[in-house]
Symmetry: C2
Subunit: 336 residues, 2 copies
DNA sequence: CTGAAAGCGCTTACAG
DNA sequence: CTGAAAGCGCTTACAG
């Protein structure tokens, strides 16, 4: 079918070695270069990556590992990663994993078999699985995206969870709110616990008593979050503001507003961690903390390639990506 | 680093050929099988795919080609495709392309170089590019997802665009609407034109005059769609209902409701093609046509593997995936 | 700078 | 069923 390096060699009367050198950007005589280029053009030659990989022991391939329960966000992360990798002459494969399983040796086998040089792990939580031990045993670098590696210390890229939650909470408190609710995902997850840490830190600064910091956590599903929100708002003394720690928490809360006859911001002020185009279209538009997915993807890619190149000078690194706050109209100023 | 088939051969005192046979599921003596299995376990042997690919001329790899401007939807399609492929012992790579470019030869080179056996093309529109000619010249099967191949006839997987638009429109007309607006994406795209076709067909059935079928198309951006919606509603005689032909059209329309002082459904009835968790949380909840992304991903995968296996018995095939309608409360019944 | 030769880790006819 | 040998399409020392 396709032509090979042999065909080019025959066509140009040069040796395989010379063609190979040309392909790998090494110095050859200009006249030979011209000959080769013409021949490649004429025969439509495209190098076979499998052969290059096998021989050179470099696959130039990385993998993005996605949980099968895919969030909307991760899709766009994939594009950002692939774009970066393509620019750096790397291929990207994707693979999915079942986050509920401890045993990820199947995934590991797949990664090794494909000889990936590194992996970006988009994780709900994989800390307790055996994946990291396996990857380490084979010296395959990995970057944890979104969550942060702690136990086996590792590289991570994540948002400025704590600080942005701190600022957001401060924003609420500065507007006179003195009893604030929080709905979060899995309390054991890094992102959730960091966001809560930021929340509590701001509360402390404003001397908000513990009982007025109403934190409710469950998991990352809309179902659980909805129940928590309902519970939160059915209290004797419901909060005047609520901080929703993630996209699904926000959606599930909004879904119940009507049902619970809660008006925003008259009855309740509301801020969401994670934005969606649509939140700006709400009545009222919802103020949000926005994660910079493009930068998360790019930084994870950059860090991974650095590790692949053997540069562990700053290992383990937790790269914190700044978020930004979009003020819209879902918070009422009680201080006026 | 890792052990090779040679190590297993040495360890078991068997030949390379026998190990290879075992790996490829061919008959070998039970006693040898046991020896090999023990050895593989002991040495932690994992086959090198590159070598297998190179030698066997089968890469068991497909590619999902994504436009760089990635829609939320395509992310989840990736998971569905990868899951299916994994079950069928295929690897999935992703690659992005610039949909505004006619020349996709770089993408083509990448696909050939990686020796992908087939590609699923998630396309805004690529019909006018040179990609298909190139893929054909190399006998690489491809499935067009979302849009439909016509000019060079090819396999496609798409939603039931025309029929579901027909049903949706009928739903509006049966509720007494006699002047209906439509905001769509690129009029030249298959999906948009099919949805409009369905719309017009229902209108004809109800003898709606041409001037009361107000179709406005632009592109797939929220910006353009927003302008069109504004224009639509600023007419002397605005429609009583609008059918928004895609996620971004719906979002941009909703964003302007407040601004234009339009209440749903009192002033305007509204239906969206494409759902989002959040649409159900709106006040009022928005009725939607939902595309079955899981099935689209799975069917595209199935069809692609069929072609890869050389089965072209039903070529070219356009696989139509059913949508479903979720009735919520964004449409007013004028007939009562 | 160029070329002959070896070899990456496998699979595949081909004998036995 | 098993094994020796050739070869997939490249790259890499090593001489020249």
């Amino acid at each position: 079918m396709g032509s090979t390096i042999k065909d080019i060699a025959r066509d140009t009367n040069l040796s395989l070695a010379t063609i190979s050198k040309y392909l790998n950007g090494k110095k050859i005589l200009p006249e030979n270069q011209k000959l080769i280029e013409e021949s490649i053009e004429r025969l439509g030659y495209i190098p076979n990556k499998q052969a290059q990989m096998l021989r050179s022991h470099r696959t130039n391939t990385i993998c993005i590992l996605l949980p099968v329960i895919s969030d909307y966000f991760w899709g766009s992360i994939c594009s950002y990663v692939e774009e970066y990798m393509q620019r750096h002459n790397y291929s990207t494969i994707i693979s999915t994993y079942d986050p509920s399983s401890q045993d990820q040796s199947e995934v590991y086998r797949h990664l090794v078999s494909a000889q990936v040089e590194g992996v970006i792990i988009v994780s709900l939580d994989l800390q307790r699985s055996n994946l990291f031990t396996l990857l380490k045993s084979n010296n395959i670098p990995y970057i944890y995206l979104d969550q942060v590696m702690t136990e086996p210390a590792g590289d991570s890229v994540t948002s400025d969870n704590c600080y942005s939650a701190y600022c957001t909470t401060k924003y609420l408190l500065e507007r006179g709110h003195r009893r604030v609710g929080v709905i979060g995902g899995d309390i054991d997850s890094y992102t959730t616990s960091e966001r809560i840490r930021g929340f509590r830190s701001a509360c402390r600064e404003f001397s908000i008593p513990e009982q007025d910091q109403i934190v409710m956590c469950g998991d990352f599903t809309a179902e659980t979050s909805g129940k928590l929100f309902k519970k939160l708002m059915s209290q004797q003394n419901p909060p005047t503001a609520v901080f929703l720690l993630g996209y699904f928490m926000t959606v599930s809360a909004i879904q119940q507003l009507d049902n619970l006859s809660i008006r925003i911001p008259e009855d309740l002020s509301l801020i969401s961690f994670d934005d969606d185009e649509i939140f700006s279209a709400f009545d009222p538009p919802i103020s949000v903390v926005v994660q910079d997915l493009a930068q998360m993807g790019t930084e994870a890619s950059r860090l991974l390639l650095k590790r692949i190149q053997g540069d562990y000078s700053d290992f383990p690194r937790t790269k914190i990506i700044k978020t930004h706050f979009i003020e819209r109209s879902s918070v009422r100023d009680l201080s006026k």
